[in-house]
């Protein structure tokens, strides 16, 4: 496996220079590896993981999860509709699921009305969408591997120990 990818998978946020040291490579070698990962469409981009509930200045964001039932098409199955749906800016993530519905869609908007409007006017009116079931998120406890606001006692380790 690409040694840089291995480190990225651990989910840390090392700088290029730090990755170079840890992987025992030069900075330019790390940059080449990152370039290659982008070319191979493995590395799609970088995003910070934020707890915006702690930042009063940011505009409120409403997030919802929508279960969507769609009718598969001859030849393309679910793909064409799923890709079409995924292109909306409001959609953060979109997955094809097994079970009682077909697509699980994560959306965000500035307000409850905005998200509701997106669902009723855009999403549910797409030809092939049979039904939607929208669940608004009330509170986040863990996001992409990061726990929000829990006092983990990680600093109690003694500085010097046998």
């Amino acid at each position: 496996m690409n040694p840089v990818l291995k480190l990225l998978l651990e989910g840390g946020s090392l700088t290029t220079a730090q990755i170079a040291q840890v992987a025992g490579l030069s900075v330019s070698e790390v940059e080449q590896h990152l370039e290659q990962l982008k070319k191979d469409k493995i590395l799609l981009g970088w995003r910070p993981v934020l707890d915006l509930s702690r930042e009063a200045a940011t505009a409120a964001t409403v997030r919802a999860v929508i279960e969507v039932k769609i009718s598969p098409e001859r030849g393309g199955g679910f793909n064409r509709l799923a890709e079409r749906l995924a292109r909306f800016d409001e959609v953060e993530s979109c997955y094809l699921m097994s079970g009682g519905y077909d697509l699980l869609v994560f959306v965000k908007g500035a307000s409850l009305q905005k998200v509701a409007g997106f669902v009723s006017e855009k999403l549910s009116t797409i030809e092939g969408v049979l039904s939607t079931s929208t669940h608004f998120m009330l509170r986040c406890y863990k996001d992409q591997g990061f726990l929000l606001d829990v006092g983990e006692a990680t600093t109690t380790r003694l500085n010097v120990a046998p």
């Binding site: 090392l14 840890v22 003694l158 010097v160 120990a161 046998p162």
Partner: protein
């Protein structure tokens, strides 16, 4: 009559030297709040994996707050027995050949108390874990240090063992991979040591607490070698591999008659290990292995980083095959290990432990624990480089 309370302290306890680690701990404590990066620790930086912590919480919820059998919960002993068979290739009966203890420290103490008469001689390789020699002194036995050397990557050799042996030696303590050197022995070296133990009829106390943190090759337990299980107490615990230092849980496996002798001491002193820790340990053995592998891979990469940087800086350092300790020589800096450690702490705010804290054979070296994040390790190495390159004050 004297009024000094010290008059009540037993002679052999008064004679124990103060731990060199303790001195250094106090020095570091004085620098509180000064952005010190500590490579002076002796434990993982990972918190115990959540499934293990959750199992302990569940045990409390169910009211598991009682004593357990002296030997430890039979379910845990069964799990330990299976684990030791699978990972070390030695079979122990859970019913009478396994005892659960309060850390390997207690197991070592039990063994020394159960097997040593006053005046018996106990061999141990040095540099070694700080408590080995004092534990021997506490049972009125006599410690015989066997040096290990940087040229052998701090592996114990049968030649050094033979050179140090003297009449009256009864027990050999092993700690492979070793705290503080990271040194360990391969199978061939262990076979030579095992042959020597059989020749001199030595009982082996083998502390293999770092065995899961073996980065290259496979760890071989001396207990798995022919004719050794009957003369070996295999000691292991949960602290390092499962990041469970604070739970204080270890175990010893060996011939039933010897475990029974250790049990006698254990039942009168400790009664049993904490039931909550035992419940957590059971979860660790049944569902904790993925976490061990994840942590080992990280330690492995951190080791490569630190050892490479140390050698680039000019601190000659072998690549420890196991443990999370690097043990570089500071000889090239012209300082002794104590001056190096205190200078580094005061000038660049990085804590390492002087090698002499681990016995006379540790002089000229420092112990640097790499169980710390990549970011911290990189900054620590940069600071050490600045310290080494700065003109000496």
């Amino acid at each position: 009559m004297s009024n000094d309370p010290k008059r009540w302290v037993a002679g052999h306890v008064a004679a124990l030297p103060k731990s060199g680690i303790r001195d250094f701990f106090e020095l570091v404590a004085k620098m509180k709040g000064q952005d010190v990066i500590s490579l002076g620790v002796g434990e993982p930086d990972f918190v115990t994996p959540w499934n293990i912590r959750e199992a302990a919480i569940f045990a409390l919820e169910r009211g598991k707050t009682y004593y357990t059998s002296n030997l430890g919960m039979i379910e845990l002993r069964r799990a330990i027995s299976t684990y030791v068979t699978e990972h070390f290739g030695v079979d122990y009966r859970p019913e009478d050949q396994v005892i659960v203890t309060v850390g390997v420290s207690e197991a070592l103490d039990l063994a020394l108390r159960a097997f040593c008469n006053p005046g018996d001689k106990v061999m141990f390789h040095q540099p070694c874990y700080v408590s080995y020699h004092p534990s021997i002194s506490l049972v009125h036995a006599q410690g015989v240090a066997v040096p290990t050397f940087a040229k052998d990557n701090f592996a114990l050799t049968a030649e050094a063992l033979r050179a140090a042996w003297q009449p009256g030696c009864k027990v050999l303590m092993l700690n492979l991979p070793c705290n503080p050197t990271g040194g360990t022995c391969d199978r061939v070296q262990l076979e030579a040591i095992a042959a020597f133990c059989r020749e001199k009829d030595l009982l082996v106390l083998s502390d293999e607490i770092y065995s899961e943190l073996t980065f290259e090759g496979t760890h071989t337990s001396i207990a798995s070698l022919p004719g050794m299980a009957e003369r070996t107490i295999f000691l292991h615990g949960f602290s390092k591999a499962f990041a469970m230092t604070g739970w204080r849980l270890g175990y010893a496996c060996g011939p039933a008659a010897l475990i029974d002798a250790m049990m006698k001491v254990h039942q009168y002193t400790m009664l049993c290990a904490s039931i909550i820790a035992q419940e957590a340990a059971l979860e660790a053995l049944t569902r904790g292995w993925d976490s061990v592998l994840m942590m080992r891979e990280q330690y492995h990469r951190r080791r490569d980083l630190v050892v490479r940087r140390f050698n680039e800086i000019g601190l000659k350092c072998h690549s420890p095959r196991g443990s999370f300790y690097a043990f570089p020589s500071v000889a090239a800096t012209g300082r002794n290990e104590k001056d190096f450690a205190s200078g580094l702490l005061l000038e660049q705010k990085v804590a390492v432990v002087p090698g002499s804290a681990f016995g006379d054979n540790g002089v000229g070296h420092v112990r640097a624990c790499f169980a710390t994040s990549y970011e911290q390790l990189i900054v620590a190495c940069d600071r050490i480089e600045r310290f080494v390159q700065a003109p000496q004050k």
